[in-house]
Amino acid sequence: MKRLLAVIKVKRIQFIITTSFTLVTVLVMLFVGVMLYGKFAQTAEQNAYLHTQQILEQVKYNLDSYLNGMTQIFELVDDKIRRSKGLTADKLSEQLETIVETRKDIVSIAVFTRDGTLLATTPSKVLRSNTRLTEQSWFQKAIEDPTNLSFSLPHIQNLFKGEYTWVVSMSREILLHGPDGEIPAVLLVDVNFKEIDDLCQRVGLGKKGYVYIIDLVGNIVYHPQQQLIYVGLKNENRSLPLKHSYGSYVEETQDETRLITIKTIDQLGWKIIGVSYMDEIVTTKKEISRFIFWLLIFVIVIVLFVLHYLSAKISRPIKLLERSMEKVEQGDFSESEPIRGSHEVEQLSLRFHLMVAKVRELMHQIIREQEAKRKSELEVLQAQINPHFLYNTLNSVVRMVGNGKNEDVITTITSLSKLFRISLSRGKNIITVREELEHVRHYLIIQKMRYKQKFEYEIVLEDEDEVLNCLTLKLLLQPIVENAIYHGIEHLADPGRIRIYAGLIDGKVLLQVSDNGLGMSPDVLAQVKAGYYKSEEGSGVGIQNVQERIRLTFGEEYGLEIASEQEEGTVVRVWIPRQVAEERDRL
């Protein structure tokens, strides 16, 4: 597991953004989906129930009004007959004809005596034989219950020649005014069943659902599959609807679940029964769930793509930054392009680049300084064993020996020996001020010998105890003194004077070399300060070398100060930090 997580780099920003957002989206979508499904499914079911109820109500209303209309027509016919006192059968038929003509759905109107003899009919048709009309239900009901209008079940009208038509018969006993007073008769109005059949056939409950009608005792008035039921291919359970007048219940057989809804036509006691199939309601539910499922998939796919894009956009600059940091880590400080991205990342990148630039700058500086230091040290090393100086001095010594000045020879050689000893000073670069002053004193002694007492010198100390123990760089003063002799005093007519001062000022050590020599013009002074000017002879260690060494060792705030005036002389001040040497170093 850990390895797997490592492989897909779980901690990556891109991964974190994508997964967390996807998770949130999926959870929200699931929640919304479940809620929507619940609501939709519930609504779908309720709608199915409501829909069935409404359709049945509509069927009931239509049938009611149709039957009411028919009842009114029956009453109208009855009224006509009652008022037509003394009319002949032909005249009566003529009157009835006008009513039949107004309604296409009236198949026939007929009046029979109680023993079944036809009195009048319209439209006038020939009575068939073998009708058995007195046995027919409409006739018997009229005789049995003379006051109430009776509706028969739909049946084939077989009374008159012509077509066999499916009719519903309305019948009741009426009174006829005959020559012998009132005689009872049976009035029959046959209504085409097609109207009712059409009305019911048009009703659909879903794709498979249907409506059927039964009478009070369970006979089928209308059923779309009536013939199949009669031949035994279909069966309709009519026992439950028979017991109820209103309401709905769910009927379960082994194959299917059906919602049965019942309404009753009060007038006749006929029951309208709606059959709808639950699997169609369930199908709606399935469709909803399928829709929501696909919606979920769709949204997740879209979200994944969008998140992938977004997270890549967000994390890319960070990755780039990381990569450029890695490069720096590996030591590649080369300049790279700034990273574009969000404000924070851009700022971060900018700062980083600035930092890298600074580091790079510092590194270059260090390299430069190191190089300079090495160069200066090399120069110093060279100066330590300057053959030119040695040659000149030894020449002077030879001359002195020639002149028999043994005292001077001893002094010179002794000083030279001391000079070299300090100069070498066991390879150390840092020596005490005392040693440095000693060194420069021996140097001055030798030079004084060489230049035949052409100049005087003095060494002045201030705070003697402390300043002598302070640390300084080796060979700081010699090049300055060398300059003073070669450039300031050598060509001077008057006796020269060199003054060396050492003291503590403002917490720093000041070593100062002043002469009364020729001095420098401002131009030359500027050149010297800038480090361009270098003496042809001498140690070869220039002012610039001294300056550089001080600065590289002690920092920028230390170094040389040169003041010079022509015909007046030059003052060179050397500032170094006040660092007291350890006891053992002094030895």
Partner: protein, 328 residues
Amino acid sequence: MRTAAVKRFSVYGLVVLVAVTLFYSCSAPLTDGEVDKKKTVALIVRMKHGDYWRTVKLGAEMAAKEYERNLNFYAPDYEEDASKQMELVQQAIADGSETIVVAPSDEQVLREAIKLTRERAIPILVLDTVGKDSAVKSYIGTDNYDMGMKAFEKMVYLIEKKGQIALLGTDRVKANAKRREQGVLDLLPRETQVELVANENIPLDKKQIGEWTRELIRKHPQLKGVIALDASTAIGVAEEMENSGLRDKVKIVAIDSPPEVLEYLQEGIISATIIQKPLSMGYLGVKYAVEASNGEAVPSLVDTGTKVIDRENMFWSENQKLLFPFVK
């Protein structure tokens, strides 16, 4: 850099486009009806008109609704128009029917239909005609032999087991009529007092049927009954009997129930008729066609049954729907 960004954007755009298209294509069927997706059953019968075939169609429509199939109805204008029917079979197959239910006019139509359906592995069911071919999933129809026997039995009952009778078919040799005739002939020896005086096939022509009937009565004055092996012949015989005033003397047993037969039946000129159940035929034809196309096993032979109808029972409510299938 710039082109890469453009490229990436166009890729994302494409993905979104595809996703939206997918989304709509999978949600679209929710709003559209699934009528077009319903499979189609083809019903090819022998004639467009007539209550018999209309009833077959009615039954087929009921089954199609129940099993949620489209029903394509094909029929020639005239009965026995075999070549036209053959075209219709080809048409039905070209229309992409899932199953073919056919009432073939003759052997050749059946053979052609079997050949065509076998090529395309479409199940085929045969209505009304019983044949023998293993390719046919199911034969659904009337047992015509039984029909003949029922007609003979009814006749024997009507003439009270003795007397001369005649058997009348059409000159068009038809497998169904042959089977009916065989049913009559096979039962004949059992009734020793019943004598078959004539057994003939004559053209379906009113005039010729009338002449044959007159000739028959002249030759056999003692004739008690006529069994007509199809409805049209029965109508012709009944008409002649009514005209010659023999309506009470000679009993007629008919086959099927067109309106004229029913009129004569109520009038008492035709004494009885043996009816088939075309509604069941149509209904079961489509029902088993659907089941066969679903790969379910269906019975190879289905007898839809017959019923003897006479003046007594013709208006019984359970018979009314059989005899008068259409609400007019």
